[in-house]
């Protein structure tokens, strides 16, 4: 029922036969026309157009990377590139002392010690409120406060939906592809650090080789996003490999960007073909 029937742009007639007007369409002289540019989706007789350029519309189970904007009573407000700030309840985070610990009044007062304004977190969407705001949770060891690394802000429609959004790339860095378009690049943690969970953020200097890999990945992500290529671990990796012949700071030059993205798209076609 979710099969894409192709693309539409504003003013394009979607179908001449009678259908029910869904989101992103309007009726113009008895013909159903698209009002936004995006993918046409048809469910039985309901025709909607999902726009390409949009804020993040979260669904249950999506992995997001967000930034804390406010600390309120028993909850944090998180910016996730959606229409409304998402909510992270105190009861939805893992606090030190075990999972089944009761939230005390003291926990409420020390919220800021755990997550402050400006901190980055990775979380999963638990539910959607009636007004469209997302409720997040970090009740798993793989989610939590993020440490040293680089955040890249892209459009949510460029992130491909996959089974897992956490990848340890073979080039030497790790990546979190948030569904909301926020991509987090960080140095692959060592063995013992992985067990610490989200509490201890290491402020040790990252090695120069790791830094170079992360900078290169960051520029590759920007290059792919400028050319509207779908982002997932394979496309990012191919782009990284195609960019190795250039210096990191040259990747953002328009000519070099075009060359790298063309090579990446060729490689992707070969792989799928």
């Amino acid at each position: 029922a979710d099969s894409g029937e192709g693309r539409g742009h504003p003013g394009q007639v979607t179908s001449l036969s009678q259908g029910y007007m869904g989101h992103g369409t309007y009726v113009d002289e008895d013909k159903l026309t698209a009002s936004v540019a995006g993918e046409v989706q048809r469910v039985d007789k309901l025709i909607c157009v999902r726009p390409l350029k949009t804020r993040f519309n979260g669904e249950v189970g999506d992995v997001v990377v967000g930034r804390i904007t406010e600390v309120q009573q028993k909850r944090w407000k998180v910016e996730t590139n959606s229409r409304l700030d998402s909510v992270l309840l105190l009861s939805s985070v893992n606090l030190p002392g075990g999972e089944l610990r009761r939230r005390s009044a003291e926990d409420e007062l020390t919220m800021r010690e755990y997550l402050q304004e400006g901190d980055l977190i990775s979380a999963e969407v638990q539910s959607v409120f009636s007004d469209g705001a997302l409720s997040l949770h970090t009740r798993s060891l793989k989610y939590g406060k993020l440490g040293q690394g680089v955040l890249v802000q892209l459009s949510p429609s460029l992130i491909k939906r996959q089974k897992t959004h956490f990848h340890n790339l073979p080039c030497g860095a790790s990546i979190i592809l948030g569904n909301n378009g926020f991509v987090w690049l960080y140095p692959t943690p060592g063995q013992q650090e992985e067990e610490a969970g989200g509490f201890y953020t290491s402020l040790e200097p990252v090695s120069l080789s790791d830094r170079e890999v992360i900078s290169r990945l960051r520029n590759c992500l920007l290059a792919l996003s400028a050319h509207k290529v779908l982002l997932y671990d394979t496309s990012v990796l191919y782009c990284y490999e195609s960019s190795l012949q250039h210096q990191v700071k040259d990747i953002l030059k328009p000519e070099v960007m075009e060359e790298i993205v063309m090579l990446t798209q060729q490689k992707l076609l070969e792989q799928e073909g």
Binding site: Q116, E117, V150, R211, E212
Partner: protein, 291 residues
Amino acid sequence: MATVQVSEAEKVYILHGIRDDLRVDGRGCEDYRHMEIETDVVSNTDGSAKVTLGHTAVLVGIKAEIGKPRPLVPNEGYLEFFVDCSANATPEFEGRGGEELGTELSNTLYKVFNNKHSVDLKSLCICPGEHCWVLYVDVLLLQCDGNLYDAISVAIKAALFNTKIPRVHISTDEEGGKEIELSDDPYDCMRLNVENVPCIVTLCKVGHRHVVDATLQEKACSVASLIISVTHKGTVTCTRKVGGGSLDPESIFEMTEAGKRVGKALHAPLMKVLQQEEHLGKKKQKVGFLG
């Protein structure tokens, strides 16, 4: 200026990177981002230029009007600067939000150009004591992604290079009054010599080192910046310190030397590019605002 929030861990990462001369986007501490310049974009001005530096976009328009020279310097023209921070750039500039920043930028520009050598003001004189050319330089901020001073100064230099001031003849009529006649030929105009126009270099102090052309994230990690305007010979015409933090006198000296080096290196490629664009003449592809 627009601000972004960064977490403590991100700040540490940026700090250590700058210490090792490898910034987040792979640049060294003295590298600029990709810069695009286009002149002659606004048709109803005498000179205009648009500069894009990373995501910062600045538009400068210059209009030449005939006015009365200043009483202390009767045989010189003058420049008037006005910077408009449009709400297009960031929502913080909505209404009167951008006024403070605009005034700060204009005042700095006045200081930078307040010397005899930047622009030959004597060439702007028409009739000593009575008429002179006044160049109204209007700067419009379209997008804000850090490093406004550098982008504005490059745009002003490009717009001044592009300015065509019509030639005028003074004739005395019967009663002894002076009459100003503009020549009939629309291409008969005077060009300005922009060799000595300075370029502004902003150096942000991050940790123990300084960076040129800081992004908004790097700006959030710095406590103080030094703004230096440098001519093509390496002469400093104006220095300003901005930001709440303090700067050590030794680091001010280091930053000034670095600023002179970077600023001097900026002029030659800029003039070359401007002259190349000029030579394209009619064959030039207009990109404008939709490119």
